[in-house]
Symmetry: C2
Subunit: 440 residues, 2 copies
């Protein structure tokens, strides 16, 4: 039996990385609906102080269980130490609106279903907290509800990886980072680890061969050691394992041949976070602020959770406003330009769009992503024309569709962490919307 | 011998409330100078990851000891859970500058000294991280250094109390809060506590008679129980004390007669935080955002540390940017108006300036504050003309001098927590500057 402190100690960052969560079930074991589980309806954290049955607090195994996670995704900083991704102190850029009231009634057939669904129905089906659609550079659709409003931030989960990848790809394109270099040559501390003889590119594309298990039922699984190491709360006195993301990465051994298989592992993103920091002298949060947040006209500062050494969680720690994530999508769609300013070379997006591990990716079982590929922590697939996306557990996405000149950004708090379970009511909706906007 | 977790558990919020800190001493026991202890010079948290001798982390007894506190005052959110005091998403107001290069050379005689000091020398004497002077509504002087820059935030420490008091005094002036009401009639949970039969006014002016000790050498002192209760980190399994600020306040008993003595106790501010929340349905952080931060043209969102129930620390938890604290000072000087907008009735500042417990205050031993008074968590005194101020340990101040039409805002990280030890090189400097500006 673990004590409260031990449980909290173990589980904290894991939930952020992989979205392990419990479920609030009906008698028939289906989770409560979006409306039933709305955090306002549930009354989470209402009252001064909240009563015990309305309280959301540590440990993370509790605060990140459904339906509590529907509140927690907007309140990570109230539960964990964080570092600011500053927007600077200037005026934000304005967003142009050309709202289209017809979008709610658009219909599509969810994958594997025979019954059509409207766009509006899909929002609750996906436990959507916020969604924005930009077309030809204007906002044509926006909803913020659940725990989110325009002054709020929402956990981006693994979309954080794509921001980290964007920074790394920018450094590669600018010639400041050689993606063919071995990681051990850039980070001597990783020379003897499994990362040591992997190229930067292999880490950026998650084709590293690492002895790293994510078996949640096995208490000796590596994911638990990673979770312990990266927990920002003080460690028990008898803890003698690695402290923080970077110390943990040094303990990972090689298993197999780099470049042979695609294995989606968060530790690759944290390794690239270290490469970025060592290359630029700036941590991911600082560089994200300098390169992107301060320059794109962001409305709000974003933030990142940190480990006990202040290292930001490059694999999953960002929280941000919906409007600012839409600006990121717009920036990606327009290959580095926003508000008439260029933030990074267009070749950065060209490189991401080009992919590079299609054959390897095809063997990895992501069957719902047609003609799939993965590059610099961005997902590429056809829906039915080529799109690229940032994706995070529980339904987070930045979805860029160049053929439709469309960006969709969604924050969600789906009871299921796994996106393949959310895609059936998402990807066909996005495709239907693209078709509608193209023909409009 | 306490374990690491226990030490962290006990000390965390205490340091914020009362600024308990160690000292980095020279061989002769004088602390290192401002230049020697500059966090950049010390190299705190530099490197990826920082080496052990450059690391600042939990427990708070370590991170808030001098000279580490010189870094920590700008990084509270990286060490603790926090809640945002949102600035909103509009454009910030511009600050008008009319910098005066003569100010650095102004001289004054520090209290109790025979040797004059220049204004510029006073900055390092006071371990100043940031200072701004506004005169006739324009910035005539500004320095940001140490851990601070214009994108950074700095712990306001007990200046937080004055922001809480400003909100409460606003509610009183608007007729939404009756300051003659007994606290127990507003907060039934406090009816049987020492606060129960105190008036709101007595709590706002710290004339409550409470059985509450701040004896730091006594492990049974109430301050330690308060610190334990309000620590946001998970409690040990065997902890059976109060959880959070509001539960702790219920345990405080009465001792003596309310209204008879001035006793500066942080728990009064947290009690008013509760009164504000119960009266308005909004917590202090929310109300501070709605009433002040979103309306004064703030450049940055501020933030507040929270307990394990998400309750913001109304007695000491705010961190904010220097420019925004100057806006607060400007707002106080101009009695609720800023940028041509009225944020609260001018009577709010009239009430504060009027004081009300001068006779009681005179017996409390704050001899350095001439003709002193205290009202709604603001300090009033003559220097030599009437001024009012927010003050926080380690040298924080918002100093409003109506006669000189001047506001001084200072963030600092002095090795001494106690302001009476910092006032000798501060108050005469402020007086000299006022004299200079009036005659200019």
């Amino acid at each position: 039996m673990l004590t409260l402190l031990q449980r909290s100690f173990i589980l904290l960052p894991l939930t952020l990385a992989i979205g392990l969560s419990g479920m609030s079930a009906h008698a028939d074991d289906t989770p409560s609906t979006a409306k039933e589980s709305d955090p306002q309806v549930m009354g989470w954290m209402q009252g001064f102080p909240p009563s015990d049955d309305k309280l959301i607090s540590q440990p993370s195994s509790d605060f990140f269980s459904f339906p509590k996670l529907r509140w927690s995704v907007c309140h990570m900083r109230e539960l964990l130490p964080t570092t600011e991704v500053s927007r600077g102190i200037g005026a934000p850029s304005s967003l142009d609106y050309a709202l289209d009231k017809n979008i709610d009634a658009l219909t599509f057939i969810p994958t594997g279903s025979k019954k059509s669904m409207t766009w509006q129905q899909s929002l609750d089906a996906n436990y959507t907290d916020g969604i924005m659609v930009m077309h030809h550079g204007k906002v044509v659709y926006e909803r913020q509800n659940g725990c989110l409003n325009e002054l709020g931030n929402h956990a981006a989960m693994s979309m954080t990886k794509s921001l980290t990848g964007l920074l790394a790809e920018t450094l590669v394109t600018e010639g400041k980072l050689d993606d063919s270099a071995l990681v051990g040559s850039i980070i001597p501390e990783l020379k003897d680890s499994g990362f040591g003889d992997a190229t930067v590119r292999q880490v950026m594309d998650m084709t590293t061969a690492l002895d790293y298990s994510e078996e949640y039922d096995d208490p000796d699984s590596d994911i638990w050691k990673y979770a312990k190491a990266s927990n920002p709360l003080p460690k028990p006195d008898d803890y003698d394992g690695p402290e923080g993301y970077f110390e943990y990465l040094q303990t990972v051994k090689k298993k197999g041949t780099h470049g042979a298989e695609f294995n989606y592992r968060t530790i690759n993103s944290d390794a690239i976070g270290w490469v970025i920091a060592r290359t630029t002298g700036k941590s991911v949060d600082e560089l994200l602020s300098e390169r992107i947040w301060q320059k794109m006209g962001a409305e709000q500062s974003a933030y990142m959770t940190v480990d006990s050494k202040g290292t930001p969680f490059a694999g999953g720690g960002v929280s941000a406003g919906l409007h600012d994530m839409a600006r990121i999508g717009d920036l990606m769609l327009n290959k580095g330009q926003i508000n008439g300013k260029r933030l990074f070379p267009s070749a950065v997006v060209d490189h991401i769009q080009a992919g590079g591990i299609k054959d390897i990716f095809a063997k990895s079982g992501y069957d719902e992503l047609k003609n799939g590929d993965y590059k610099s922590f961005w997902w590429l697939f056809n829906n039915p024309t080529p799109v690229y996306a940032a994706r995070g557990v529980h339904g987070q996405t930045i979805y860029v569709d160049p053929a439709a000149d469309m960006v969709i950004v969604r924050f969600a708090s789906h009871p299921e962490s796994s996106n393949p379970k959310i895609d059936p009511t998402s990807l066909p909706a996005y495709s239907a919307l693209a078709n509608y906007l193209i023909r409009k």
